[in-house]
Symmetry: C2
Subunit: 335 residues, 2 copies
DNA sequence: GTGAAAGCGCTAACAA
DNA sequence: TTGTTAGCGCTTTCAC
């Protein structure tokens, strides 16, 4: 049997109540006995049984996070941010894994988290359907989308996709490009795509450029490297572009490599700007200009918001925008 | 107050024991009442309180994983593997975050996991010091290193670093290269570096090539992109190489980009082979030849081993090798 | 400053 | 097939 608080109490000639107080630094106790108790605890190799503690105490201090594993993981910055902020706020976080597009697993994982009585559940760029969101809310838990805008009835903290699309496109236009492709997102599929596309169109319109349908290349609609790669063949055939707005760094890299594969080298025939600003942008040749999100801050704000929601759960869906910035590198030399 | 098992019992006119049995599918009960109970549970929006359940039951079914967040994340495959295998074995996994080189945080996180009474703790390419390992063992929990060999007294499942170093080097030699640099790992720093370096030297020796000290470029010793980048300047100055064995994909990409930055384009002046085989290898231009690890399998085997250890904890340190393979791409055309 | 005691929500004998 | 009961290990009034 593992060592319990009672073992300590016995050894110290105290009641479990006193030991509990000392170990938790609550209530009053003398420093002398405290020292003794802590020594005994260390000596015995005692560890609190959190199940028992959580059961007895009623306030919950753990936050659930549901992530999906991805190779180029912009979420890694988000997770860092979450972890840092959580450490500071004294909440601890439980990370669990699901797959995108696998609602069954997402639900299972969410239920696991509910059983563990977390006070909030953060979805990292993962889009649960409304049934799952409802089930979480019904359990009295605060759900929140992180690092992605979201259409359904759940608050989110993320960059403003519309503004990002607008900034990216406007930047290309200011550099003198006028025939601008839109790659990798599906405007009809998710709100992120919808918003970025709307921003893109708004920027075109503002500059008096008439959008042409053949400028849109969706690919798999998943912001993937493959979509970028495939876009090159498509555009070569169907559109006379001078620039591309890639809705992800992966997509931009795909476009670059597609161009290299086609021409033998990158010739700056197209201006390219991407979204996210992960290290891919620095490590690509040429380096990719990007609209860069502050993923760390997104993570921090997500935790802060979830903590705030404990005492004061927002009545309506809340949309928190986190600032982003423009980073010009080598793929936007201008015309 | 949240709905409890007692609420269900009351509504169903049953005892909590019966409800518990039904909800857990243990013992005997009639299908008729079971149906009724489940309906009521769903109706009430009931979720088991795991703290209570874990406290009452005594067997633990959750596995702890400590990971660090990284942008190019070969661990993502490991995590997938862990998740899949865990799902199949009916264990659920808790992932927590620490930073490499931050033993204080690693310890804190490990203690958190101990308090949650996990049955095992997996370290993903994270190297806790012996004190932490001892503390975990003392708590009756099985610790295991995953995806990295490890010198201290803890079992591990990973690729065999010595053999990987050997294979990579031998491959270059077979392609006709004879002056081969070793980049990114520090043979004196961690066992991974030591082993890969030993394999590298063994392969050189076996081919009758005399190793020269200036062929070693450690950089930050962290298998980083930066080390690869810096290696080019170093070698240009100090060694006349015809090939490079990069101890990571990031490092190999650094070497390639360093060469491009130096020469304006990649000229295949050096053969390059890397270790890991992440998607970087496919997405680089040229594509990088690699000794590719089976990270998914590593993850699966790690879980399987941890589960096995519940009933039959290994007495001595166990070292489990997972097979890897060679993937030739474009950076090893031969001389 | 410390202790007694109730109870958190559940499981697991053991009875019935 | 179902119920009674005794905990699991801890926290938290409320007394002392």
């Amino acid at each position: 049997m593992r060592v319990t608080i009672e073992d300590i109490a016995k050894q110290a000639g105290l009641s479990v109540a006193s030991v509990s107080r000392i170990l938790n630094n609550t209530g009053r106790f003398s420093q002398a006995t405290a020292k003794r108790v802590r020594a005994i605890a260390a000596d015995l190799g005692y560890y609190k049984n959190r199940s028992a503690a959580d059961l007895a105490r009623h306030t919950q201090t753990t936050l659930g996070v549901i992530n999906y594993p991805a190779e180029t993981d912009s979420n890694f910055h988000v997770i860092r941010g979450i972890t840092e902020e959580a450490r500071q706020s004294g909440v601890d976080v439980l990370i669990m894994i699901a797959e995108r597009d696998d609602q069954a697993t997402i639900q299972k994982v969410a239920q696991d988290l509910i059983e563990r009585r977390v006070f909030g559940i953060l979805f990292l760029s993962l889009h649960p359907d409304q049934a799952i969101i409802d089930l979480i809310k019904r359990a009295g838990i605060y759900p929140q989308e992180v690092a992605s805008t979201y259409a359904l009835d759940m608050s989110y903290v993320s960059s403003n996709d519309y503004q990002m699309g607008q900034l990216a496109t406007r930047t290309l236009i200011e550099k003198g490009y006028t025939r601008i492709g839109f790659v990798g997102a599906d405007p009809a599929r998710d709100i992120v795509g919808t918003q970025r596309f709307a921003g893109y169109q708004a920027a075109l319109a503002a500059a008096g450029i008439t959008y042409r349908p053949e400028w849109l290349f969706v690919g798999d609609g998943k912001y993937s490297y493959q979509s970028g790669l495939a876009a090159v063949a498509y555009y070569t055939e169907h559109a006379a572009l001078d620039a591309v707005f890639a809705t992800s760094d992966d997509g931009a890299l795909g476009v670059i490599n597609g161009l290299i594969d086609r021409d033998g080298a990158f010739t700056h025939q197209w201006g390219i700007i991407s979204t996210d600003g992960s290290q891919i942008c620095e490590q690509s040749r040429p380096k990719i200009s990007s609209v860069t999100q502050d993923f760390n801050l997104i993570g921090r704000m997500a935790v802060a918001e979830a903590v705030r929601a404990i005492d004061d759960p927002p009545q309506a869906k809340k949309q928190i925008d986190v600032p982003f910035k423009l980073e010009l590198r080598e793929t936007t030399p201008g015309k």
